[in-house]
């Protein structure tokens, strides 16, 4: 009798030791790995936060009404300003929207309304590939196709280069948005005797307005920060708008040029321009999320930010 009890006790102690050895090791591994993940997250997030912090501290010093509205004077003379750069960025974005949005939306329409075939599969694939083209190569293309042909740097060339970056993004997001519109609505339109293009333009596209707008705004925020393709297309200048055929300044271009100069003035101007650019782009991003993605379950902007990672 006592032997079996002892036996059982021994067995229990043995199992307990095995269990402890097993679990303790695993718990240690778990703790270490969670620690590593946490460290990775911290290391990764630090420079990102640091950039935003420096941007506001350094850029904030440069901001003033004159800085934002006047033409830059001679470097080192004390007048630093980015008026033409802001104007140029807005004009270039506008022009590239005029070229890029219709093409992007129409090819989204093609993919969603007519796209069950082999051609559409290929187009989808190559849109994804095209989206990842190095932007400087698109700049080189615009240079060869427009600047060399016309013989001078121009806003048009820059806008064409940027529209090439823009339209694949718009096309893919338009396709996704149009696919969200229920098929029965198309059938209802057809049942009313409407032609397909009327159904698409007057019923389907308004129904997918949110998604299309989101894609368009995100593509604008992407394009607004592009520098490389602008170097060889719009070149940069220090005066206000002279006409669509002449060189023009843009914010990213000005930031780059300023960073190459050895003056404190120029450096400050670079930070100021960077702050303006980032504020515009972040405003577009936050605005998109606030107005188009989370508007329905509204609890104020903080709640929106907290729900940020959620996909509806």
């Amino acid at each position: 009798m006592s032997i079996t009890v002892d036996n059982r006790r021994d067995k229990r102690a043995e199992y307990r030791a095995m269990f402890k050895a097993n679990v303790r090791g695993r718990l240690w591994v778990d703790k270490i790995m969670v620690g590593v993940i946490l460290t990775c997250a911290l290391i990764a997030i630090t420079p990102l936060m640091w950039i935003l912090f420096e941007l506001f501290v350094q850029g904030g010093q440069a901001l003033s009404w004159e800085f934002l509205t006047q033409e830059p004077g001679a470097i080192g003379q004390g007048t630093i300003a980015i008026g033409p750069a802001i104007q140029g960025t807005l004009i270039i974005i506008g022009l590239s929207c005029i070229i890029g949005l219709p093409i992007g939306i129409m090819s989204g329409v093609y993919l969603s309304e007519f796209g069950g075939n082999w051609l559409a599969t290929q187009i989808r694939f190559f849109l994804d590939v095209f989206m990842q083209f190095p932007s400087i190569v698109l700049g080189v293309f615009a240079f060869l196709a427009i600047v060399l042909v016309l013989g001078h740097f121009s806003l048009w060339a820059g806008a064409v280069a940027l529209s090439l970056i823009m339209f694949p993004i718009v096309a893919r997001s338009t396709e996704e948005a149009l696919k969200m519109v229920p098929w029965s609505i198309r059938e209802a339109g057809a049942a009313l005797g409407l032609r397909k293009w009327i159904v698409t333009l007057r019923i389907i596209i308004p129904g997918a307005k949110k998604g299309i707008l989101t894609g368009a705004l995100l593509s604008i925020s992407r394009v607004g920060g592009e520098t490389a393709p602008l170097i060889m297309t719009v070149l940069g200048s220090s005066v206000f708008f002279q006409g669509l055929d002449s060189p023009m300044d843009a914010l990213p271009l000005r930031i780059w040029r300023m960073s190459l100069l050895p003056y404190d003035d120029a450096r400050l101007a670079g930070w100021g321009a960077a702050l303006v650019l980032v504020l515009v782009i972040l405003a577009i991003h936050v605005g998109v999320r606030y107005f188009f993605l989370n508007r329905d379950n509204g609890k104020g902007i903080i709640a929106k930010l907290l729900n940020g990672g959620k996909r509806n």
Partner: protein
């Protein structure tokens, strides 16, 4: 839902307006294919002079001389520079990016969601701003606290640290690149890991696994291809990245652009184009040479992205199959 093919509103041939609409949409859809073709043709024809002059030596050559009469161009140093900076950036960036994606998944929602959103926001910061920060804030600190101590301690024994650091070099450019590709990679890998069915994770937990074991046995096997694809997309971005690298890599040319240590200045394919394109005269062979660099860069970047695309697509197919079963 069953898709019903809509009959044309009229019998027989559809109305003309519908045909025009369909043709317009098709033209817009084919635009991308036409553009890719035109870009390739144009880059090839415009860079033809340099291919004729140098032959395959254009890819394997190391000279870069734009002086009239002594022109000689070879892109090998820039290919090396591009691949080296991208590789270092991947080594640093991928573990950090996947770490941040895992953290967003396991953290409580109140921390995880805003963090995920913040990372997405930072993806929107233009690369020239990263360059500005790298040049004026990061470089002085990095040289004083990291590169110089390394050089003084290991400079003689390890060849990687064998030259006096100045801050405009391979290592600092690679680190800025790593910071820039982290948001791209971590956003996609988070999506991919979230796509792992909840049942899989719950099953792993139910078998008594810890958080890390759950990742190891349930999440990673499932999302392997997707994580690979995300990393390769990050690589694609690193290869094509221009401005931040141009500002930090030191812009050496010719044979001097082949870095012997991590603290040597170098040059990438994108940065040489950004630096010299405006000064190159269309009359000489300099401009065709730069366009040739663009063609090589485009080829490398397309190869990378197609690989990534196929990997991600395979992953998505696996996921759909799992949901259907």
């Amino acid at each position: 839902m069953v898709k019903v093919e809509l009959p044309s509103p009229k019998f027989g041939r559809g109305p003309l307006s519908d045909k025009i609409f369909k043709i317009a949409a098709t033209v817009a859809g084919v635009y991308v294919l036409a553009m890719i073709l035109i870009i390739f043709l144009q880059l090839t024809t415009e860079s033809l002079p340099v291919w004729e002059e140098e032959g395959l030596g254009f890819i394997t050559g190391t000279d870069w001389n734009a002086v009239e009469g002594r022109e000689s161009f070879g892109v090998l140093p820039y290919i090396i520079g591009t691949l080296l900076t991208s590789a270092i950036a991947m080594i640093i960036g991928v573990p950090l990016a996947i770490g941040i994606a895992m953290f967003v998944i396991i953290a409580p929602k109140k921390i995880g969601n805003p963090l995920g959103y913040l990372v997405e926001l930072i993806e929107a910061v233009p690369s020239v701003v990263f360059g500005l920060w790298g040049l004026f804030i990061f470089r002085p600190i990095f040289v004083d606290w990291f590169e110089r101590p390394l050089y003084e301690t290991f400079g003689d024994s390890i060849f990687l640290f064998g030259s006096a650091p100045f801050g405009l070099d391979v290592l600092s450019a690679s680190i800025i690149l790593a910071i820039m590709i982290i948001p791209t990679i971590s956003a996609i890998s988070r999506e991919v890991m979230m796509a792992v069915p909840q049942q899989q994770k719950e099953a792993a937990y139910m078998l008594g696994s810890t958080t890390w074991e759950m990742f190891r046995i349930a999440v990673f096997p499932y999302s392997k291809a997707g994580l690979m694809g995300a990393s390769i997309l990050g690589l694609g971005r690193a290869v094509g990245e221009t401005m931040a690298v141009t500002m930090l890599i030191g812009n050496a040319t010719g044979i001097g652009a082949i870095p012997e240590t991590l603290f040597d200045p170098a040059q990438t394919m994108a940065s040489i184009m950004a630096n010299e394109f405006i000064e190159a005269s269309p009359a000489s062979i300099h401009l065709p040479a730069l366009i040739g660099v663009g063609l090589v860069l485009l080829g490398i970047s397309i190869a990378i992205n197609m690989t990534a695309h196929f990997l991600v697509r395979r992953m998505i197919r696996v996921r759909e199959g799992a949901i259907n079963n």
